[in-house]
Amino acid sequence: MDEPGVVAAFWVLTVTAVGSAVMVAAVRNLLHAVLFLVLSFVGVAGLYITLSADFVAVVQVLIYAGAIAVLMLFAIMLTPRAARDNADGIFWAPALVLAGLMATTIGLIATRTEWAVSDRGPFSQTASAIGEALLDPFVLPFEVASVVLVAAMIGAIVIVREE
């Protein structure tokens, strides 16, 4: 993993992902914030590719950039104009404190843990490995997740239903 190409890709993608995430909170126009969020999602997908997780990377783009970002755009479209500014708010000080605490915690965990290198080589086919894992050891969480999704869809229909 120390080849110059991988290292260069890692740094470019990290700067993209983290920089866009900072811009999401820092930019004034809410629509620009959502677009920077989409850029951040794509950066994270690139980081997945440097880890040879091809299926997860593509699904990240498909689900996050293709569906969740669109959901946020719908939410922005349907809210009144007055709430469109990303800058006003009295909670920036507690937000900064909280973000700093979270960053410190995660940084300490990442640097102080004894990470063990797995002796299992990279998967040749991540998609089929994920499929088999979802249907053999993890079938119960898989089915529960689908029940939760159906419940969410029924709840959404009930909320917007006209009498």
Binding site: L31, F55, V58, V59, V61, A65, Q125
Partner: protein, 419 residues
């Protein structure tokens, strides 16, 4: 896979990768490893970009002439012999027009939208197998990559509609998002049927499966092809599903405020997307570069491009013939018609693959049976579900019938008629 023999001569253009392989092996002898990657990326990227740009320019002429013939007129024939220089005239006209920016529009997002719209249209061409060894990037998850990349178009079109600061653009953008999201679901399920039979998501693997089984996946999954074709037509906003950008409906929707080369980019993206639809259908359903052994005489990439143009002709045919659907008709069609059909298609396909694998039947016996079953099921499902869900066209009277008499008093008649 054929065993690696001596390198074919570089001028054997039946497989264009021969020249590239020769160059790359020479480079790997004289230079570091990363140079080989960079050079192959540059060569492949440039080749694909040039091909895409050439087809975008040529298709302007093809589309206008073929639509004109369908509409019983001639099409552009002034700008050169048979109007062949018409694309150049169009591009020149668009380039010298002023690229306007609405005064209260969002300048950065407005300018970025047409450029980013070209991204997915170009990125999707990297995974197609143009020939036997001629895939730019042979991804393991090729089919899913295509779907993911085309789903980013949704955000870009919303960017275009929103930053125009125009009610009609925003309305067009909202319609486009709703339509694209709705049609993505049956599209993914239709392509899942293809992946089910081929056992792999890699596009060259799917072509190799069709080559090994000597059958087109169109014959094994006809309903999947029909569903994919309709959903992809809606995804690229082409007539009959171009409600979001139609001049008579919504003043060109999300690209109302774009003029000059920005509009030219949106137009080119539409043409390139139509070709990409043809390329996906040709690879997944019609065998890609393989045509029952014909690729021994005709180069595979010529066969592939021929198939792409045949499907593009089908798209132009639909554009010239069918009327436009309304947005509520489109949404109902996606959710109430295509989605149940796609689900039934997957269930039947999974059952067939399970039977095939469980009882270890031979492909030559099983695939024709599956083809016949799937074909009849497709026809039955489409006709039956249409009769169930849609307006009962089959119950309309076919000729005028007398229903009942209405007593009408003729004017001037003595019985109760006033003057």
């Amino acid at each position: 896979m054929t065993p690696p023999g001596p390198l074919a001569p570089w001028y054997d253009f039946r497989d264009l990768s021969n020249a590239v392989e020769r160059l790359l092996s020479w480079l790997s002898d004289i230079g570091p490893d990363w140079l080989v990657y960079v050079v192959s990326a540059v060569i492949g990227g440039t080749a694909i970009f040039l091909f895409v740009a050439a087809t975008a320019v040529a298709n302007i002429w093809v589309e206008r002439r073929v639509v004109a013939r369908i509409q019983v007129r001639r099409g552009p024939n002034r700008a050169g012999p048979w109007g062949l220089l018409q694309p150049i005239a169009d591009m020149t006209k668009l380039m010298q027009k002023e690229a306007l920016l609405p005064r209260a529009g969002d300048p950065v997002v407005f300018l970025l939208a047409p450029i980013l719209a070209f991204g997915p249209a170009l990125l999707v061409w990297g995974v197609f197998p143009f020939g036997k060894g001629m895939t730019f990037v042979d991804l393991n998850v090729g089919v899913l990559y295509i779907i993911a990349v085309t789903s980013v178009t949704t955000i870009v079109l919303f960017m275009a509609g929103w930053s125009s600061n125009n009610k009609y653009s925003l309305l067009g953008a909202i319609r486009v998002i709703a339509m694209l999201l709705s049609y993505e679901v049956p599209l993914v399920l239709a392509l899942l049927g293809v992946v089910l039979f081929a056992g792999t998501m890699s596009l060259s693997g799917i072509v190799a499966w069709q080559h090994d089984m000597r059958i087109w996946l169109f014959l094994v999954q006809p309903l999947a092809f029909v569903i994919y074709f309709i959903c992809a037509t809606a995804e690229i906003n082409r007539t009959p599903t171009d409600i979001a950008e139609a001049e008579s409906e919504i003043v060109a929707g999300y690209h109302t405020e774009y003029s000059g080369i920005q509009f030219g980019l949106f137009y080119a993206v539409e043409l390139v997307n139509a070709m990409a639809l043809g390329a996906i259908a040709a690879t997944l359903f019609f065998g890609g570069w393989w045509l029952f052994g014909l690729d021994r005489w005709i180069p595979g990439w010529m066969i592939f491009i021929g198939k792409v143009y045949l499907i593009y002709f089908l798209l132009i045919w639909l554009r010239g013939t069918l009327p436009r659907l309304r947005i509520d008709q489109l949404m109902a069609f996606a959710w109430k018609f295509l989605l149940p059909l796609a689900l039934v298609n997957i269930m039947v396909g999974a059952l067939e693959v399970l039977l095939w694998v469980e009882y270890d039947l031979s492909a030559g016996l099983v695939l024709p049976v599956f083809s016949v079953v799937n074909l009849s099921l497709a026809v039955l499902l489409v006709v039956g579900w249409m009769r169930f869900m849609a307006f009962p066209f089959h119950r309309l009277p076919s000729r005028a019938r007398l229903v009942h008499d209405i007593p009408v008093v003729a004017p001037g008649a003595p019985a109760g008629g006033a003057a």
